[in-house]
Amino acid sequence: MSRTLAFLTATRGGARLHWSDWASYSYLFLGVFLMFFPVIWLVLSSFKTEADLQRYPPTFLPYQQQTIILEGHADPLPLFQITGGEHEGKILAQLRRVGLRAQMVDPADPETRLTIDIADRAPVERFTLATENYTDLFGRFNFLLYFWNSTFITVSATLIMLLTNSMAAFALSKYHFRGRTAVLLLVIGTLMIPQTVVLVPLFLIVTELGMFNSLWGVIIPGAATPTGVFLLRQYMLTIPDEILDAARMDKASEWKIYWRIILPLSAPAIAVLAILAIMWRWNDFLWPLIVLTQSENFTLQLALNSFQGELQTQWSSLLAMTVLTLLPIALVFMFLQKYIATGIASTGGK
């Protein structure tokens, strides 16, 4: 403990802590609490049974009342600790409750029925994870279908975006042709047209192309982002042209130069763009909301949003589904944190 404290309070220079260091660390730990607690609370809650979720004030960890199966009773019987009266200290199973009294039996002696005042009993609870919240998703809620829709959209849109953007970036960085500046200006121009301001005409175009209520209606329009072209072009400009000239001497075709030389050399930039694209498409909401109106086409985000309207009281399934929706992104984050941070800092977002 004292070593942890020494570790935490030491500064890099090895000097004693200034008051401003204390202020900084307090701020940072408050930040850790504010940023992490909501997510931790979500995950813990998602393992609670519906009954446990109704409890107020809530407990931190998920608890479930213990039950016991006794011969002659079809359903498992809930266990109670007796806190008063002549049976104080015993653990009894409840058969039924009648008004202010409960009929109970001792599991060791199932034949004798005892009548206990309900004020004298407290449920026996133990830390238990309600994994049925998760397994239910696969049976009752079509979770796999939504998961598949989200995955299909994310993977296809990312691949299409990487291919078209890298081709355009290659042309804009390695060829000197008339109209190059015009094209660059055009790409900058698209920065000014976010999807949110062309929803109506985009809807018409997608409908006319027969992509309304189809996953392709989300994939194809989403593949047109100027950010990727800029990011890749910037990186490809740093690849020396001599490499291309050498390849041309060896009679390599332009397409071969593109996918055998330029693409592999741009791998770091492509990785950054891929991560960004996966994040954007997985979390996309407004455009899918407009294009996908039938529940069999819903992405995870749409399904979550529509369930929170439908199942106002069914928090247990909703919370489990929320956790599964954020899980893939959280995993990507854990493994690729460094790339994501540099990627986002260098592109300035979407």
Binding site: P38, Q54, M167, V183, L199, W255, Q301, L304, F333, A345
Partner: protein, 330 residues
């Protein structure tokens, strides 16, 4: 860093790329190397044209036509009527006096929201960036912690906070325990609005912190060392060195945050649904509801409103590009 996943990806991609090579070689012979650039550009330009530029032109056609039909040939020309309907107001400050009162409520909600959200978010991002730029332990960890919510989807963010803020949620349990007493937050218009601002700051501040931190780290160390030699106070160093040298980054952050703030929809829509009443209905939600959620679908009104938003965004984006250029040159 070759992994198994890479090689599977290569196995899928290689035959596709090989197949494209044959027609591309033909085109190369036909057009010559320099014209081939257009072939490389074509797919991307098609996407941009079809899903970005063409819609902008179409948007104008929608804005000057009426009715509930989506096909332009079925839509009667109404001139500037949609704009007139949106802008018909006795007093712009009072939505009740406007013909399209919902639009003006959304406009004012968005204005207030953007002002509060951007102000609070940039202030906290700056504070966090400054703290993270100090000589602290585990900086990478703390940076990741503040950045983490940026990756969460808007719907997930909304549900996380809805679960905490609900009547019998953990926040109310805590407030009851301390004796302050819980509250039904999302039923009260002002609190729902306030929590929407909070949730939006919570979800996005990590992104701006990252940009500001990069800006802080770009300030040369020797400037600070010189200041320490001159025994300048910490506050003076901050006022006279850090802030002026950081101001280009600050401006970029401010404009970026404004551009995104004006377009806020997802997380607040999933959080409050725009309610209670219209307390948290913002401009993009207005467009969505007029054009897509309501019946009849008023595409003309939605398109006209989009054009007004687009005007604001174009100005902001031009400012951003100009700032980027200036900071790149300077």
């Amino acid at each position: 860093m070759r992994s198994k996943g890479d090689s599977i990806l290569l196995q899928v991609i290689t035959p596709i790329m090989r197949a494209i090579e044959i027609p591309m070689l033909g085109l190369q012979r036909l057009l010559g190397i320099n014209h081939l650039a257009w072939v490389f550009l074509l797919p991307n330009l098609l996407l941009f044209g079809l899903f970005a530029f063409f819609p902008v032109i179409l948007n104008v056609s929608y804005a000057v036509t009426g009715g509930a039909n989506v096909l332009l040939v079925d839509r009667p020309h109404v001139g500037a009527q949609n704009f007139a309907q949106l802008l018909d107001c006795a007093n712009y400050l009072d939505p009740n006096s406007c013909r399209e009162d919902k639009f003006w409520r959304a406009v004012w909600n968005t204005t207030w929201f953007v002002t509060l959200q951007v102000g609070i978010m940039v202030a906290f991002s700056l504070l966090t960036a400054i703290v993270l730029n100090r000589e602290i332990r585990a900086r990478g960890f703390f940076r990741a912690v503040f950045f983490f919510p940026v990756l969460l989807s808007p719907v997930v963010v909304a549900l996380i906070w809805k679960w905490i803020l609900q009547r019998e949620g953990v926040l109310n349990a805590f407030l009851d325990w301390t004796g302050v007493g819980g509250y039904n937050w999302l039923v009260d218009a002002d609190w729902a609005f306030g929590w929407s601002v909070f949730l939006s700051v919570w979800a996005h501040m990590g992104f701006y912190t990252l940009i500001l931190l990069a800006g802080l780290q770009a300030i040369p160390r020797d400037v600070y060392e010189a200041a320490t030699m001159d025994r300048a106070s910490a506050w003076r160093v901050f006022r006279r060195i850090t802030l002026p040298l950081l101001s280009p980054t600050m401006l970029v952050v401010l404009v970026l945050a404004l551009i995104k703030g004006v377009q806020t929809f997802d997380e607040v829509y999933a959080f409050t649904g725009g309610g209670p009443g219209t307390a948290t209905t913002f401009i993009i939600q207005y467009i969505y509801e007029e054009g897509f959620a309501g019946a009849p679908r008023l595409f003309g009104l939605a398109a006209a409103a989009s054009l007004l938003v687009a005007g604001v965004l174009v100005v902001l984006t031009l400012v951003q590009l100009w700032l980027n250029r200036r900071s790149a040159n300077g």
